[in-house]
């Protein structure tokens, strides 16, 4: 029976919550602030992770430079996605964004020589060789551990959350600017914003790109945390988790995202501890199913009973 108080386990949950904070922050910018229904957000995570891994293993690039390229490529991906699709009506846009992320996942699965195929990044260096992209990361983390006198887990936790909180602050500052004000107006009423001279399309594209950058950074941390990944790690399910986190915390505020991520992490991980009957009758695969059933029920319950999330105001919902 696993101890509920196991530190290693909870620091793992903390790290994943940090990664999800970055990831969901992207959704918050795109939807909570700009009103964009991007359901393909996981694609940006994948682009960030894969670009970095491929450049390091195949082109022998410096990992930090490769990471930068990953973020830039994801932003470019946002532009390429947005240019043809942002003028579509909202529900069509949503469907094309899912198509976007699935197409990328298909390509990643099938183009073995580029991405290692369905086996994942282990295959990047070709058959028979195991590829690693995170040597530089390991040494960086090692130096953090030494400087702060902490263990591996804690070091990662600190680094992830430092970046995540910096991102939260950055987004919060951005939204207080006149630029942020325009984004919010577009969320409220595009036509009113256009009638006031705002180029709605350009702003939406910018929101998409900012969100893409955040998604890519989340992808980088995902890659570094798990040392290995495959296309199936970037399935639409992750996008829905991000949406759930944003709704859970409350739409339209930057600081509610980390709270939502932590609550989500606790719910998700907490089901691991159903060690008492009748749940102990299930094996671990079955408990994995149960976990997703619980997540689904939480989403439904949220929308039924508290659609404004933990920190949203009922008032704002009424004004909608």
């Amino acid at each position: 029976m696993s101890t509920i108080a196991s530190f290693g386990f909870w620091s793992f949950v903390g790290i994943v919550a940090g990664i999800y904070t970055l990831f969901a922050l992207g959704v918050q910018v795109q939807f909570g602030f700009a009103g964009l229904l991007n359901f393909g957000h996981v694609a940006f995570m994948g682009i960030g992770a894969y670009t970095m891994a491929i450049l390091v293993v195949k082109e022998d690039m410096n990992m930090w430079a490769a990471a930068g390229c990953g973020v830039l490529l994801a932003m470019l991906g946002g532009v390429l996605l947005g240019l043809p699709t942002l003028r579509l009506r909202a529900d069509y846009f949503a469907i094309t964004t899912i198509a976007f992320s699935e197409i990328l996942r298909y390509v990643a699965t099938n183009e073995d020589r580029l991405t290692g195929g369905s086996q994942g990044t282990i295959n990047l260096a070709g058959i028979g060789k195991t590829a690693q992209y995170d040597d530089q990361w390991r040494s960086f983390l090692g130096s953090v551990e030494r400087d702060l006198h902490v263990g591996g887990d804690v070091a990662m936790l600190i680094v992830v959350w430092t970046v995540a909180l910096l991102a939260v602050v950055a987004v919060w500052l951005m939204m207080k600017t006149p630029w942020g004000r325009v984004l919010k107006s577009i969320r409220e009423d595009e036509d009113a914003a256009a009638s006031l001279g705002k180029n709605v399309f350009a702003y939406k594209l910018q929101a998409l790109v900012v969100g893409a950058a955040l998604g890519a950074i989340a992808g980088l941390f995902y890659a570094w945390q798990f040392s290995f990944f495959s296309p199936d790690d970037f399935a639409p399910l992750l996008t829905f988790f991000a949406w759930m986190i944003v709704i859970l915390g409350g739409l339209g505020k930057a600081w509610t995202v980390p709270v939502g991520a932590i609550v989500f992490g606790v719910i998700f991980a907490g089901t691991r501890f159903f060690d008492f009957p009748p749940f102990s009758l299930l094996d671990s695969t079955e408990r994995a199913y149960l976990r997703l059933i619980v997540i689904g029920l939480v989403i439904i319950g949220l929308m039924l009973f508290r659609p404004q999330g933990i920190f949203g105001s009922r008032r704002e919902m009424v004004l909608e």
């Binding site: 699935e102 197409i103 298909y106 997703l292 689904g296 929308m303």
Partner: protein, 294 residues
């Protein structure tokens, strides 16, 4: 090879068409994009397994029972869930997210109850129909005939029957229909019943055509189905049927080697998405949809 691909395209296309029609019917009236629809289909497919494999009933009877079971599920969810959400004036996004949550729940309950192992229907695997240069398996043959009948029936239902007319009235203007005395609650339930029947049918047919399937069946088909719905103009049932057939044909024919080597078959869904994006670029309201009004 062309004839074979054409036949395959019709099979795939008709399954997608039926499912797309099922989604469109509900969307037209309730403006609800039901992301759990794929899992309604999976439910139907597995109900079919229960009746056909576990209980040993002939496939046609099993399919009919599976359709009924899915229709029941559909109505139950309307009464327990969707109706309550509408009473709270839930917006488009809330409904979509609930359908996402529902999809998760349905799929994993099926996983829990039925397990992840692949299932196959009890049909003769050696039966082959030969039409010209195309060979259709027994399952494919059944699928084409049944879907053709299904498509015609749906068309007749919407165009010809009283219920169909009322559904169209609600799709046009729900509040107006309510004020005009139409029993909207009942028509909505009727729409969910039809949607559920179609989901069950499409699920069983998809299961037949794929030979073996697991609980991911419906969800993997969901995106091509949505593509068909959007292609046809969301809410337009005839458009959904046409869109489904068109996409099915496009997907299969794209692998034709005469077309510059043809597309790698594993990329078929990508062809469906690509076709969708192309159409939307040229005609943002879909093939049969209505243009936006400010």
């Amino acid at each position: 090879m062309f004839m074979q691909l054409l036949a395959n395209g019709l099979v795939t296309g008709s399954v997608i068409a039926l499912a797309a029609a099922g989604i469109s019917i509900v969307y037209g009236i309730l403006r609800l994009v039901n992301f759990a629809y794929g899992d309604y289909m999976t439910f139907g497919a597995f109900a079919g397994i229960l009746f056909n494999v576990k209980l040993g009933l002939p496939i046609v009877l099993a399919a009919v029972l599976a359709m009924a079971a899915t229709a029941l599920l559909s109505v139950a969810l309307e009464l327990v869930l969707w109706r309550r959400l509408r009473a709270k004036s839930a917006g488009f996004m809330s409904l979509f997210l609930v359908s996402v949550g529902l999809a998760l729940v349905l799929r994993h309950v099926i996983y829990l109850v039925a397990g992840p192992q692949p299932r196959t229907y009890a049909v003769d695997p050696y039966k082959v129909y030969v039409i010209g240069s195309a060979r259709l398996s027994g399952a494919q043959g059944i699928a084409i005939v049944v879907s053709a009948v299904g498509i015609v029936l749906i068309g007749l239902l919407i165009a010809g029957t009283g219920v169909g007319r009322m559904m169209r009235a609600l799709a046009d203007d729900l509040p107006l229909a309510a004020v005009a005395g139409v029993r909207t609650g009942r028509v909505i339930v009727a729409a969910w019943i039809v949607s559920g029947l179609l989901a069950g049918l499409a699920g069983v047919l998809a299961g037949l055509v794929q030979t073996s399937f697991d609980p991911q069946l419906g969800f993997t088909l969901l995106l091509p189905i949505f593509a068909a719905v959007v292609l046809g103009g969301i809410g337009n049932v005839y458009g959904a049927l046409a869109g489904g057939l068109a996409l099915g044909l496009a997907m299969e024919l794209s692998t034709w080697t005469e077309l510059a080597g043809g597309v790698n078959p594993t990329y078929k869904p990508v062809v469906a998405f690509g076709a969708l994006v192309l159409v939307l670029l040229l005609r943002p309201q879909g093939l049969f949809g209505r243009a936006r009004v400010v």
